[in-house]
Symmetry: C2
């Protein structure tokens, strides 16, 4: 019998069976107990170690469960063959895995001195009704809605889809039934589903510059991205005609970053292009349509579509809060069928509790009230920024200012470059963004010379906008 | 001048500018105002309609914004060319889109008469501390943590990842740092990310039968799925060697549906297979490892991996509640680097609020207490089921009963078929599941003859288990 001199510790820190189990396991792993070797019977070992037989039974049971030993009837317990594996150096692998020191993606200019950041992603949440959100959450949890802890429909709960379809109809002129809506945790996730519906090797046409996040996502797909030029009305349809693509990604309400609102004529041309083939679609990303400062909101492209060609994507992350990971996609009938075939087994990514909170927030009118307030707030910022831009107008052209949370400045002075303007602004403590950031072609040289800058104002207070613009005046005028 | 006889309604239901705007828009869309046609000046139209000039300005402004008309300096307003589009019949498209009447996927047997459903997906949430969850939620919202409404890290908030890594270390023997963890809204979403990391055209090996949901998801990828046979120890490594695959998907703790726990020997063989090539990985789906009824929990496969070969996936949907859409994936260093390159731009799918709630739920010990209680509860059900199964043992073999929330019955009587056994159970009001449901090869004929049934007990009360088993006795014995 193999020497089972196990030093048992009886201070209670570890129970006896565990110590026996661990000892034998280490003996096997260390090659000191060899495959095929017979272990003592439970009775013999129990006697030897002066422990109860149950204790040894337990230890052997665990070794059996994990496959270190096997029991052969009427013969006893034997050590199993365990493949030896050169122990890799996990520590080294882990060390390699550390993050590159403080990933500062956008640290071209030292952030230390930046006091005014005109980021196009800035949002103002000062008016968000935290109290209302809390109250709704509390009520929902209070109501003992235990069914909310169960898994909901893959597409999203029907109530929420109904509320969204009503909202989209009245606010955006979208024509849809709740059956056409798919709710998901963010636009990126919805695009992942869309990849499955459009199939592999599909091509997607994008404008240039465009929303780079979407570009990166399409590139990570089994897709080819085709770049289509744009003019002051948006995507060039003649160029689009020449591309082998299944879908064109557009932002008709307020193109990012140029701020172009696509006129009805161009919209109809796009719809006509899509209608020419069954497998052609328009992806309408309506990312910031809630904020428009001139006239009524421009209806969605989807609303003009009579042929089931538009995939409409919107999000509450911008209009409510980025943490609200709820986006929605309105699918045309053909893709809806495909969703059911090839995507409906993907479980919902939004918890039912969050869906219910959001549903009540919209249904009970809080969303509309909040939107009205933030719209007013952003309009105020927008107006102040335009006011402050007056002295710049000789040297800069302003565009894309009718909607959204950013506008575009183009320097009329050909001596300037984008880089140069950004650098001078940074020296004065102001961060502005070059439009070339949104370019999706490698060679941005020609574009850099176009001297286009993006100024986002959503995240700055009105005073900060004034002060920031005063600094920019020093820098540029 | 085109006749602008607009009948203005002054009852206040719709403001005047909107009526003018809509009238002209419809005239253009209806082809009664043609492209290139000149509109009256704002002054002329205002006089003609007896409204203020601002009203007409507003209406024209909206038409301009939407691109129905254009302004040519010193000349006036002209109708734009709008592409005509044959109006498709959206109503018909929408009608086609209705759901097929009440999608009853699993209605082979009329559900009306089913009183006892031994679904392997059933869970018991009766012990869930709703009060604690509510309290944590309330506190978090009370603390005015407004930063929680901002977008968090793509990988998941660091605090939560740290808590998960600690939990995985102590409960599952997983060796990882928080940097290796990616949090996402459900396993399906994590697999979508994994698709990007493993690259296109990768092959995945799966056992047969297996977890069909994962199979469907891999199939929806640009992947080929290779079926590898399994024996009583799990996936057959000799067969695996012959397949051109990048990854093997396994459930070593408790294979679904067979309930096999993979012994250490087979685990080492798999790890050795993976270590032979840089681009080989094991996907360990540890879906129900929290529930084990015999001995200590079996440590994870990841914990035995010294070479960075295991992708460990787990979820809180099973251990807490299906509505908690939080899963996690532990990536080996190589894939972690790839995640940063090609996936880190996918925004997090879990709201920061939910992440924080979960973090406190685990960190403050509620999770462990809840797990201990449910484990006890499930063990009770498990023991009762085994007790009730005693009279069946002559005719049926029981397996996979050491862990999880289901076990497997195999009929010893060759005259039986799976279908036949399920049918007879249904006649007595009991729903049991055939293992062939989990088969991923088309031809399940041979398997049907194997007469294997799945009995899940998580969702049934102890009394229901007893009553259901009594019915089954009538049906089968």
């Amino acid at each position: 019998m193999y020497d089972m001199a196990i030093e048992l510790n009886t201070d209670g820190a570890k129970c006896l069976y565990e110590q026996i189990y661990e000892h034998i396991r280490e003996e096997i792993k260390g090659g000191r107990l060899l495959s095929g070797e017979r272990l003592p019977s439970t009775r013999a070992l129990a006697e030897y170690l002066q422990v109860s037989r149950t204790t040894v039974d337990f230890a052997y049971g665990q070794l059996l469960s994990e496959g270190y030993i096997e029991a052969i009837p009427y013969k006893g317990y034997f050590v199993c063959r365990v493949e030896e594996l050169p122990e890799g150096n996990m520590a080294v692998l882990m060390a390699e895995n550390r993050l590159p020191e403080a990933e500062e993606e956008e640290s071209n200019f030292c952030n230390r001195n930046i006091c005014y950041d005109f980021s196009p992603n800035g949002l103002d949440m000062s008016l968000f009704p935290f109290g209302v959100w809390k109250k709704i959450t509390k009520n929902i949890l209070n109501d003992g809605n235990k069914e909310l802890f169960a898994l909901g429909e893959a597409q999203g709960d029907y109530d929420l889809r109904q509320t969204i379809s009503r909202y989209l109809h009245s606010a955006r002129g979208v024509k849809c039934t709740p059956e056409q809506i798919v709710v998901g945790a963010g636009n990126d996730y919805l695009l992942l589903l869309l990849e499955k519906m459009l199939g592999r090797h599909a091509g997607v046409a994008m404008e240039n510059p465009t929303y780079k996040r979407a570009y990166r996502i399409f590139r990570s797909f089994a897709y080819h991205v085709e770049i289509v030029g744009m003019d002051e009305n948006g995507m060039n349809v003649d160029e689009l005609q020449k591309k082998q693509v299944k879908a064109a990604y557009v932002m008709p309400s307020h193109q990012y970053p140029t701020g172009v609102t696509m006129p009805i004529g161009r919209r109809m041309e796009l719809l006509k292009w899509a209608a020419e083939e069954e497998e052609r679609f328009l992806i309408e990303d309506d990312y910031d349509s809630e904020f428009r400062y001139k006239g009524k909101p421009i209806p969605s492209l989807q609303g003009s579509d009579g042929n089931g060609k538009v995939i409409y994507i919107g999000t509450f992350s911008k209009a409510i809060a980025p943490a609200i990971r709820v986006s929605y996609m309105v699918l045309p009938p053909l893709l809806m069928r495909r969703y059911r075939e090839c995507c409906s087994f993907y479980a919902s990514t939004v918890s039912r509790i969050d869906q219910r909170i959001l549903n009540e927030f919209i249904r009970d009118g809080y969303f509309e009230r909040y939107l009205n307030k933030t719209r007013k707030l952003y309009r105020e910022k927008h107006d102040i920024l335009l006011q402050e831009l007056k002295p710049f107008r000789k040297k800069f052209q302003v565009s894309g200012e009718n909607a959204g949370l950013h506008l575009v400045l183009t320097s009329r002075d050909k001596k300037h470059t984008e880089e140069n303007l950004i650098g001078r602004a940074a020296e004065c403590g102001v961060k502005v963004y070059g439009m070339s950031d949104a370019l999706i072609e490698e060679d941005a040289q020609g574009f850099l010379a176009e001297r286009k800058l993006i100024l986002g104002y959503g995240g700055l207070k009105t005073e900060e906008i004034k002060d920031g613009m005063a600094k920019l005046k020093q820098a540029w005028l």
